[in-house]
């Protein structure tokens, strides 16, 4: 089943809040090998002017990929997850994700296109606090490999 081109331009409703936790930040920082104490030591983070420990630059992918799941799991989208590879990723941070944040993601399907027998879907997730403060824009392109 081909990817449904009619999904281009679609915007999903805002998600339930994702609560950024200090333990998850530590776990993620350890997994990517970031030794900056600002991820694990709240005193260090406050000395640098942050409200609490802050997340590494790619942590936002956790929330963004949960948002992408709304599209990928939609049977009408026609995306076979076992054939998905990640093509491109970009983050623009308006400020660091910080422990204690409650983050709402709004998923936009920016483009759906075919090239060389593969389908490529670019999504953009706008991450903001419950109060509406923009925190991060995460843009992702996935490639759905064409198949035998």
């Amino acid at each position: 089943m081909p990817v449904n081109a009619e999904f281009q331009g679609r915007e999903y409703p805002p998600t339930e809040p994702y609560r950024v936790g200090a333990a998850k930040i530590r776990e993620f920082a350890e997994a990517v090998g970031s030794s900056d104490p600002v991820h694990v030591d709240a005193e260090v983070a406050r000395a640098r002017g942050y409200a609490d420990v802050i997340a590494p630059p790619t942590f936002a992918v956790i929330i963004a990929q949960q948002c992408d799941g709304q599209l990928i799991r939609d049977p009408e989208a026609g995306i076979d997850f076992s054939r998905v590879v990640h093509g491109e990723q970009r983050f623009v941070h308006h400020r660091p994700l910080t422990a204690g944040d409650a983050i709402i993601g709004t998923l936009h399907v920016d483009t759906v296109r075919e090239a060389g027998g593969h389908a490529m879907v670019t999504t953009r997730t706008e991450l903001a606090t419950e109060a509406g403060e923009p925190v991060c824009t995460a843009t992702s392109t996935i490639v759905i490999r064409g198949g035998e």
């Binding site: 776990e27 997994a31 990517v32 992918v61 990640h86 093509g87 983050f91």
Partner: protein, 152 residues
């Protein structure tokens, strides 16, 4: 100096824009990745796609072997930038293409060699652009990997 009796946290020692020149290289690092690390990253990131830890499954869907999460490579490569800048919170933009998978065999794992160079510096805003190069098995695995950070 701080007068507190307990050991105070070290203040951020963020690199000064005045000390940076375009074309300067960042210290390179080699990141070793094995299956245990991929399982760790899968748990931390909640990306549990089987292609990153289940070898028969990866081969069944046409891959040569288990491959690292592109986001693992992206996330670990940027530590070169955050350590050089002096504060992980100063990275304001970061993007890349995933040009080749990092194949992670059961025996021995894989090494990702990461280097970086200063491509641009805006003296007014103190925004520095770093281009990262990441190679595994001699091939570039990230394309147009650019990080922008705000210096002091």
């Amino acid at each position: 100096m701080n007068e507190q009796p307990t050991t105070p946290p070290a203040p951020a020692t963020v690199r000064s824009a005045a000390d940076v020149t375009v074309g300067e290289t960042l210290p390179s690092v080699t990141i070793h990745v094995d299956r245990a690390r991929l399982v760790q990253y899968a748990g931390a990131s909640l990306d549990r796609n089987r292609i990153h830890w289940d070898e028969p499954f990866a081969k069944q869907v046409g891959l040569p072997d288990v491959i690292a999460h592109g986001m693992f490579t992206m996330g670990s490569a940027v530590t070169l930038v955050t350590e050089w800048v002096g504060d992980a919170g100063r990275v304001v933009e970061y993007g890349t293409r995933f040009t080749k998978p990092v194949v992670v065999p059961y025996d021995g794992g894989a090494d990702i060699e990461v280097s970086g160079v200063v491509k641009a510096l805006e003296p007014d805003t103190k925004r520095v652009t770093i281009e990262l190069t990441a190679k595994a098995a001699g091939e570039k695995v990230l394309g147009r990997a650019l990080a922008v950070a705000v210096l002091d």
